[in-house]
Symmetry: C3
Subunit: 143 residues, 3 copies
């Protein structure tokens, strides 16, 4: 396994704004704080969401539109760099009023109310690069 180890930086708790877009809010917040790498979790509820499933054969994302209010039963991921810019990779499990779960790659969601827990990581810059085998932008750990 390629890997590297990092020092723990600041730990942030945050309250996402009602009606903001969840993924962009996390990225913008982190950029504003000069965070370069992080792991984070989010708990709360959204008004609607777009998840995705990556087709491992065709190498294309299939979008799943969830146009209804949902609990964020789980949402976590990481921040690193892609094309030199801060990039969030997050997956989520959302839940409807019958506790039915909808899960996948989180593209975007409209916040009803949500709490962010973010652990900054300090160390060597971590960039994503195109990986031919999977068609995905994966971490490249250098030197």
């Amino acid at each position: 396994m390629q890997s590297s180890n990092y020092k723990l930086g600041r730990f942030f708790l945050g309250r996402l704004k009602h009606d903001s877009e969840l993924v962009r809010s996390v990225v913008n917040f982190a950029r504003g704080k000069k965070v370069k790498m992080a792991v984070f979790t989010v708990v709360g509820a959204v008004k609607q969401a777009r998840l995705a499933y990556y087709d491992q054969a065709s190498h294309e994302y299939q979008k799943i539109e969830l146009d209804q209010p949902l609990e964020i039963a789980s949402c976590f991921g990481n921040l690193s760099l892609k094309d030199g810019k801060l990039f969030a990779h997050a997956h989520a499990v959302l839940a409807d009023e019958a506790s039915k779960a909808y899960a996948g790659h989180m593209i975007k969601a409209t916040v009803f109310a949500a709490e962010l827990h973010l652990q900054e990581l300090l160390g060597k810059k971590l960039e994503r690069e195109y990986d031919q085998t999977t068609g995905l932008a994966l971490w490249e750990f250098r030197g």
Copy 2:
């Protein structure tokens, strides 16, 4: 986004008691250790659980009773203060014998076996206050 940053305090691993109530156990444990803020995860299994879904229009919680043994596929949340008292906000994904997922806001659950991972956070006191837009008790980050 309103936010604040915290120092990392103690990290606890714990084994919840068989037949104890999960959410109350986490709160009582943390209170006993003088923890004021934390993020935590729980993994294990429960004998039964009560989840909830927050109706974003009516501002009321709808309860979902799950009267069967379930795996805790995911459970995480945070501890902060509400009305001056330590309060747990946790969401969960539970799973039955066919791997079907039940997800939502975790109100309570009876522990079969469960492991707690809890990161204490140190810093300015963090209180929840009533938010008119959502009808929820949300974090207020002061000064």
Copy 3:
């Protein structure tokens, strides 16, 4: 609740190898780094997986074979010792192309692409021991 507190050690980010077995990869990676205790999360996608549900009455695991490509919507757990060897306890929520969730105890999975976030914990050795009430190997916190 039995518990103990730990110091935070190294924080690793890692990229699991395509076609590797997920759970064994995490254990082998940690062993190679001399990690004795940890909490970890994994995000990504798998080609197939075997989950399990623990029957609380018969004390037997029921296996659930998922022979299809799935997103890892959530996967987290811990590392401690069992029979003197490093042991991973992980649960997961997987998702298919319709965002349907499959959740439970993670026995093994074949990695398509996956990212590991692992927090090493330092302190007293933590061993699992057989617990008669549940039939499971649970943490024993000593003196």
